[in-house]
């Protein structure tokens, strides 16, 4: 059989940019799964690549993506909240959808708490893997519906 995409994993690669004092994130999700979410909200099937860039539909989708991510992926540092900035998204022919966003106003890059329940409304088995690189060292954690927060610390 060919169709086996119970692909319930997202991967967030995060890195601290010292000069800009921000944490840059690229989040990889399964394009098909995210389209399901969009379809639920827009009440019609959605194909991400079929929205011409300047159309109303594209604007709607773009706004929705930004809102969804800022609600479902949050980052605080040293106990202080940060500011979310959405950059954009990218669809690869390999069925992967990448979101790009950053968090500024990082109080303490050595101690970062991530909350993520991205896509958990679609499947209880959803896993959200996070990798955070600071000073050349990477620490990782796996978040899920049951455990949607993790703190990554460096000494």
């Amino acid at each position: 059989m060919a169709t086996t995409h119970r692909y319930a994993i997202t991967i967030a690669e995060m890195a601290y940019d010292a000069p800009k004092n921000r944490i840059e994130v690229s989040l990889k999700v399964a394009a098909h799964d995210f389209e399901q979410l969009l379809a639920q909200v827009l009440h019609r099937p959605v194909h991400l690549e079929e929205q011409p860039d300047s159309s109303k539909a594209e604007h709607l989708i773009s706004t929705y993506c930004e809102k969804y991510l800022s609600t479902h992926f949050k980052l605080s540092s040293g106990g202080f909240p940060t500011r979310f900035h959405y950059l954009g998204r990218e669809l690869t022919p390999h069925e992967s959808l990448y979101f790009y966003f950053s968090f500024s106003g990082i109080h303490n890059p050595k101690q970062v708490t991530v909350f993520s329940d991205v896509m958990t409304s679609l499947s209880r088995d959803q896993q959200n893997r996070i990798h955070y690189t600071y000073g050349g060292v990477t620490k990782s954690a796996t978040l899920s519906a049951a455990q949607n927060k993790a703190t990554l610390s460096f000494d």
Binding site: M1, A2, T3, T4, H5, R6, Y7, I9, I11, E13, A15, E24, V25, S26, K28, A31, Q40, H47, E49, E50, L87, G88, E90, L91, T92, P93, H94, E95, Y98, Y100, S102, T120, S121, S123, R124, Q127, R129, G136, T138, S140, T142, A145
Partner: protein, 758 residues
């Protein structure tokens, strides 16, 4: 910075014994796979080939099937002749009743997990209720022997045991007669590998029918009876045999099935038969039923029936599809001994994709797979279109990939449709002909098939966006959370992340074997050997592992162990590169060299300023203050040093003298195995003169110490940079520690931000 190697006057061989440390990774990565694999025996020998006592059973079917288009039901009557070629007398026979998975009380439905969150969408709720209300499962109306004598039987979930009045001995055959019926499932409502697709506006159906009859289980030397319940993920284990099937459908249905159509005169018009012949001679698709004819056909509903007759030799299963909506095209594919009819059956909803690509993809897949395995031995290969599926049967498969209703389609949909067709047609080779046990090992057919699918995609279109195959594409999966990663050698029902585990990772492993470990020539020879040894037989993983080693001459136990039996990943780090040259012991050369080195060292600020700021020191003003130490040139060669050098040379042999003259550059490189998987070291060395060289070191370099190794490389000129795994061959999960000097690798975020700048 370069350092000097001082060679002692008496050159002794350097030999430090490695401490026998306790390694992190146990068992040792190079431990031979003796205990993990079944002991070779007379049925499956140590070379990985069928042994001299190898046997397999045979199950021949003669069936009459009727499809009820009004009520979506199938009724059937089968006569099964089962031949026991094993040395064991059998007192019962096991058959599979897969439709029983559709009973709400089935083990699959009872053991499915759910939460309220998951059910809180209209779609999920509808599906749940549909499944609960559907009266699926086989109703058996007759179970007798060949003389109509009733047989005692027991239905155990999706399996049925028939008790034989006498044991069935070696070489003997037994005839079963079974009548049954069942309700066909709506695939949109409750899913399924087979069922129907309903077109509401037209009130028309596409039936894609499989697992529709009681099928014999496999009995063999490895499992005894393979009667593990059908729970939905682990697919099928089936014996080979010959089929003769009559299918009665509404007279306006077009039928596609496993095997050859033997009564074309009764069911096809003269025009259709003529077009068939034309198609056979053609290397481009020819319509047997055109789009216009199908459009007209789907408007009415015939009330009378026709019976289509098919025969298939040496197949492990039988499936068919029928609809009044089908467009049908075909072309011939020539091989040295036969011509295959590559055919596609699809509704108008599949166009324009299906008429442009389907049959051509079937033909391309047959040609490419045959190149790597064996000539396709069957008379037909069919691709049928229905919604949202990819599922394989001998000579026929059901494939999804549908454009929008206005005929437009995205690039992703196109590539998805092409990938599915290649993959499902490819399954004819694995497992339909190389007939592994899918219930036990999903990867043996899915992994091997996905690998050949990748090769086929690359030959179909240059730069085809294959999702699986190249090593670097599996990195995200392999560096994931280990608690969600099971080894490939895990039973089908217990696999986590099914697609990556059973399809992607084994396919990648084979590609790595082909490109890196064995090379294409050795791999292709070994793989073809495996395919031809086990064609029309039932191989196990051990047979595959052993054959690949046996035929290639390369010990692969470390590779199978790492990739198939563990969930380790590859992350090899190039930690240090140290540069050396031989100390010539000649004071004029060495002192000049030392001067060069010293001049490059940083000087303190005071010293630098004082060179000009202090015009004359007291000592410089008064030469009377000089003694033998003042103004001494540390780099001048003294007579004593020259004498010592001559003495040394006199004490050395010719050979040792030669060594001192050597001007090579020595580089010691230190590697550590961070991820667990031992892999070859592939190094691209760039030199000062901008030339480069590629060095491939087999994984055996890790055999004494699987955690860290060092190696000294000797070059004619200085090295500028070193890259480990420059062509992304080893699925290394962290490339940041692969470069010397270290490189800054831009993140995806960096690249996207660059591109997004106005």
């Amino acid at each position: 910075m370069i350092r000097k190697i001082v060679i002692a006057a008496a050159v002794t061989g350097l030999c430090t014994a490695q401490p026998t440390a306790q390694y992190r990774h146990t068992p040792h990565p190079f431990k031979q796979l003796k205990q993990e694999l079944a002991t070779p025996n007379a049925y499956r020998n140590a070379a990985g080939a069928p042994g001299h006592r190898y046997y397999q059973q045979q199950a021949d079917y003669v069936m009459r099937i009727a499809l009820d288009d009004e009520r979506q039901r199938i009724s059937g009557s089968a006569s099964i002749v089962y031949t026991n070629r094993s040395p064991d007398p059998l007192t019962y026979l096991w058959l599979q009743l897969d439709q029983n998975i559709r009973r709400p009380s089935s083990e699959a439905q009872l053991t499915a997990t759910s939460t309220i969150d998951e059910l809180s969408t209209p779609r999920a709720l509808k599906r749940t209720f549909s499944a609960l209300r559907f009266e699926g499962g086989f109703a058996l109306t007759k179970v007798t022997d060949g003389n109509d004598q009733p047989l005692h039987y027991a239905v155990v979930g999706t399996m049925m045991r028939i008790d034989l009045p006498q044991p069935l001995r070696e070489g003997a055959a037994y005839t079963l007669q079974i009548d049954w019926e069942y309700a066909i499932n709506d695939r949109s409502a409750i899913g399924g590998r087979s069922g129907y697709e309903y077109f509401e506006e037209e009130d028309n159906y596409i039936y894609t029918i499989a697992q529709f009859f009681p099928r014999m289980c496999v009995y063999n030397d490895v499992e005894g009876w393979q009667n593990k319940a059908f729970l939905g993920d682990g697919e099928f284990a089936l014996p080979f045999g010959n089929y003769k099937v009559q299918i009665t459908v509404p007279s306006d249905h077009v039928v596609a099935a496993t095997g050859e159509l033997t009564n074309a005169r009764q069911v096809l018009t003269p025009t259709q038969r003529e077009r068939w012949e034309t198609a056979r001679q053609s290397d481009q698709p020819v319509f047997i039923v055109t789009a216009e004819e199908a459009a007209a056909n789907e408007q009415q509903k015939a009330t009378d029936t026709k019976t289509w007759e098919f025969e298939a030799q040496n197949v492990r299963d039988f499936a068919f599809a029928c609809s009044r909506k089908f467009i049908w095209d075909a072309q011939g594919v020539d091989q040295s001994d036969n011509t295959i009819m590559a055919m596609s059956f699809y509704p108008k909803e599949g166009n324009p994709l299906w008429e442009r690509y389907s049959t051509r993809l079937v033909a391309h897949t047959l040609k490419t797979y045959s190149k790597f395995t064996f000539d396709y031995p069957y008379p037909v290969a069919i691709s049928v279109h229905t919604k949202r599926i990819g599922m394989e049967y001998p000579m026929i498969c059901f494939n999804g990939g549908r454009p929008n209703s206005d005929g437009t389609y995205s690039e992703r949909v196109k590539y998805w449709m092409q990938t599915v067709i290649i993959h499902e047609v490819g399954h004819n080779y694995f497992p339909m002909i190389v007939n592994s046990d899918e219930r036990q090992w999903t990867w043996m057919d899915e992994g091997l098939n996905t690998f050949l699918q990748y090769l086929t995609e690359q030959e179909w279109e240059r730069g085809y966006p294959s999702m699986r195959g190249p090593a670097h594409l599996i990195v995200d999966y392999m560096k994931g959370d280990k608690s969600t990663i099971a080894p490939i050698m895990t039973n089908s029902e217990s696999i986590l992340q099914f697609g990556n585990n059973a399809y992607g990772k084994p396919a990648t492993a084979l590609n790595i074997l082909r490109e890196t470990i064995l090379g294409r020539e050795l791999f292709d020879f070994a793989f073809k050997t495996y395919a031809q040894r086990w064609m029309f037989k039932h191989p196990t993983p051990a047979d595959f592992f052993r054959t690949m080693e046996d035929a290639s001459g390369i010990d692969l136990d470390w590779f199978w162990r790492g990739w198939f039996f563990t969930n380790d990943h590859c992350d090899i780090a190039l930690n240090a590169v140290k540069w050396f040259q031989i100390n010539t012991r000649d004071p004029s050369t060495e002192k000049a060299f030392q001067q060069q080195i010293d001049e490059r060292q940083p000087k303190n600020i005071s010293e630098l300023r004082n060179r000009t700021a202090i015009e004359q020191t007291a000592n410089e003003a008064n030469p009377l203050l000089d003694d033998r130490y003042t103004g001494k040139d540390p780099y001048a060669v003294t007579e004593a040093e020259k004498a010592a050098y001559s003495d040394l040379k006199a004490s050395l042999s010719e050979e040792e003298l030669q060594l001192l003259e050597d001007r090579h550059h020595f580089y010691q490189m230190d590697f550590t195995n961070e991820g667990g998987l031992v892999m070859p070291l592939i190094l691209n060395i760039t030199f000062a003169d901008e030339s480069d060289t590629l060095i491939r070191i087999p994984a055996e370099i890790w055999r004494r110490n699987p955690e860290r190794v060092s190696k000294v490389f000797i070059f004619q000129q200085p090295v500028d940079s070193v890259a480990l795994d420059p062509f992304l061959e080893t699925a290394d999960c962290d490339m940041r520690n692969n470069y010397w000097p270290r490189r800054t690798i831009p993140s995806r975020f960096d690249l996207f931000e660059e591109r997004s700048r106005p």
